[in-house]
Subunit: 568 residues, 2 copies
Amino acid sequence: MSSRPTRIVVIGGSAAGLKAAAKARRTDEFASITLIQREPELSMASCGLLHDAVGGNVGDHDLLVCAPAEAVRDPMLFGEAKGFEAKVETEALHIDRQAKTVSVQDLASGAQDQLPYDRLVIATGAAPMHLDVPGIELEGVHTLHSVGDAEALQKVCKQKRTRKAVVVGGGLIGLEVCKALRLARIDTRLVEKNERILQFLDAELARLVEMHLDSRDVEVLLGNGIARFIGKHGRLTGVELTDGNELACQLAVLAVGVQPNVSLAKAAGLEIGTLGGIRVNDFMQTSDPDIFAVGDCVECKSLITGRPIRAPYGDTAKLQGRVAGQNLIKPESARFPGVTHTGIYRFFDYTIGFTGLSEQRARAEGFTNIETVTVSGLDMPVFQQGELLISKMLADRDSGRILGYQCIGPGDASKRVVTVAMAIRGKLSVEDLAHADLPYAPPYSLALDHGIVAAHALENKLEGRMQGISINEVKQRIDSRADSFFLDMRSPLEFDEMRLGIGETLIPLAALRDCLDELPEDKDREIILYCKTSLRGYEGAAILQQHGWKNVKIMEGGLVAWPYARAK
Amino acid sequence: MSSRPTRIVVIGGSAAGLKAAAKARRTDEFASITLIQREPELSMASCGLLHDAVGGNVGDHDLLVCAPAEAVRDPMLFGEAKGFEAKVETEALHIDRQAKTVSVQDLASGAQDQLPYDRLVIATGAAPMHLDVPGIELEGVHTLHSVGDAEALQKVCKQKRTRKAVVVGGGLIGLEVCKALRLARIDTRLVEKNERILQFLDAELARLVEMHLDSRDVEVLLGNGIARFIGKHGRLTGVELTDGNELACQLAVLAVGVQPNVSLAKAAGLEIGTLGGIRVNDFMQTSDPDIFAVGDCVECKSLITGRPIRAPYGDTAKLQGRVAGQNLIKPESARFPGVTHTGIYRFFDYTIGFTGLSEQRARAEGFTNIETVTVSGLDMPVFQQGELLISKMLADRDSGRILGYQCIGPGDASKRVVTVAMAIRGKLSVEDLAHADLPYAPPYSLALDHGIVAAHALENKLEGRMQGISINEVKQRIDSRADSFFLDMRSPLEFDEMRLGIGETLIPLAALRDCLDELPEDKDREIILYCKTSLRGYEGAAILQQHGWKNVKIMEGGLVAWPYARAK
């Protein structure tokens, strides 16, 4: 032990910073650890919970700042229990790397101070991006990031004059705000500048979520932005969109994304990465080996591409904090290997989960030889009230390695995302996953779990046993009046209840072998098969292929994944 | 294509056989495929569902034989849809490997026939073991395996004279029967010959399940067997136990395990493995390359030990059937790599899940340098109605590789078992898992998921940062009046509500640094710390160690995992 205790300063008291401080404390009981934060509370559970609070789901302030061990994260209690000093409502102004000090200011008194450090942790998080449009300063224009923001918004929602709201930005936080506003019975529209919401999903899945928004009476305006906020007496009355239309509203919530808070790091001359986050190595060290950075303000390494990626998620923040906390005391003793980039989100009855790369992202990252599959199915058996899931899995054709997975629907997407996230972490191929035994019993899954079925379908495609066509491509065929032969393989009863009405032919799977003469004489004509989930479509395709039809495709995901209008 | 279609015969129409037939059909539309089965229905969902039916949870016979595609597995419908002939109520009598024929008998007419095959699949499953004790033939002594068994048992449960029942065997099926009987309001006792139930769990976790049985008014009699069944007029009136005691009952259900049905394979001279299952290679071929075997009648390969293991689970059966089905048509084109040995089970409000090896099993398999950890925690945040989970994880000290995981409790054990099962499949180390990013949002998990926390704790133990003691060892310390110092780290409020009362000292974590003088002067004395989940115990231990106490241990799992009597 050195004669003088190691002095550690942590800037930022949310998930990553707190974890770093706590881990450092456990590693060295005698280090001097000071945590500084602008907000009055430590460790806000800023994911989801915060936003749920807007809709009144969580009314109790204490629950918002509650630690798993049921101890409210009161700075004083923390100081005692965790053994470090927590300076809240304190701002870090400047880092002097030569002198190894941080200048801080008490926000209440304005008093400034210099904190010397041996090792410093930057955990400054991310901040919501703002729009540079006129009227942004009007009363009624909000962002949502801190507990304070949530409380302010909650107050606005309770005011009777807030009848109509516009949410700007169709990312996760935008959706979360839509949900909260709908729960507060406020008329809500979502404006998204891209042609679809949720950029981390591929378009066809994002389209299904748009339908779910629609079913919850949230109107989605795509490919549109805010030209200006309109006000009267300093108070918001509406927005003008980039297409010239105006929407009346008393509340606008900006959720156009977050960006890493790197100003302090930048001013100190620390390296900033290409994605705008602080660059760190596997030890969570910045370009200054005595300064660490963790959480939403840094760039991670993707385990799939090996390249930088931003992963502003609570679990990643804590995992990084744990690594940094240990390295603060025992240099280079722990490594953070990188992320699969995994997230999940609940939107009303829908779960939206993902891990790894979307197809769009994979192509942008330079994967040119990709195979994908979309499957629909239940999470559990019918008699266990199984619910629908729709998934897309993708793999690299050359190596067979799984690159990504998206899973949405009312069913338990979480477990399936875990399955594939762990497969990606283990660098498994589709074939590896296709043979995975999982915990099976009827209350938990089908015998072949939804995630395994996706691997089977993808393996069938990779090995040329199945040819699929995405629903979007089918829609294009219909719109362009292509000469495809559409074959619905369900029962007449199912057909009566619901059908596309695109000139399809109905032949139930069980009758297919007896009805081959109803199929196109031209064996090269494109035949597109489907059923409810396209499981029967798959069986039908195998039959037709072996009877000589050469261009047989299964509409992936089946009718339950159809996000467009239909005849019935 | 050969001039004559390939002739395939599949013996057994449950999960594995059906899957093999269906996959073969999809791979070769023109093969001649015949499936034979003794039972009248195909593909009984024999896991769980069957047993639930006993308690009346599933009343509808059609639901019991329902396929995921919502088509009742009627043999005729199957013949049409899947394109193979299903001969039900037909028994396979003999395999002639030279002539390549199977002799079969129609159970209704008694007529015999010879079915020629090019490739044969044996999917004869497993059968319940019987007890060789007097009185086994009495009316009222049941086993539970087929739909017929379940229906018979269901009928018995509805009879008013069935007031008391004895279930023999504390495995999964035994517990399932206990649940069903309790739901039917029958007085139920469970007799188990070993000193604990659920041999696949380690003793301390099995003990917690025993407590749950107790809370559901199922009396558990351990280390006891059946000497004889007692009857009157051919009808069961009681059982005599091996300890001489008698229990009155009108119903006894035997659930003493299953054994692979290998008589047909054995008679045909096929190799049988050391565990009593049919030996197969990675292609699911038996010692005769034209004969495949799949499902509960075979031995699998453990991915952990590389040695044979039995894994009679529905998902494994289907995965094997899929591999065999493809190889039937395209020889050696698919490999089944082996199993992690993963299972799950719901017992009332409790989920019991496992993957890989238990500690006991690992030691039996020759792993001598093992580290284990037990942790307790919630599956989700408190404000999301998080429920308790108790887990044990083990790893090989030399390689760091995860060897197994058990997870039980009212929380969602399933997702955590999936996490570790996939980690084992990817041959991940504890360190790899400790850094895994998973889908986190408050409705789905804590930021650091229960499975990740277990990996953190195990990593801490492997790297010497934490010294644990199992609850069973603590109990031994208490019973032997060892000179350990017991330190409860909770709040006075929690202590008032519930405590062990073993002479422990209460020092809340936050006060520990100020109360070091209340601790033993002898720095070598064993100090055992705990709290509700031992999370605070962990923090306390770090403090004490760094203040010079050398023998500080955390009671793993904490008070929520304490399965013995306590003062309050």
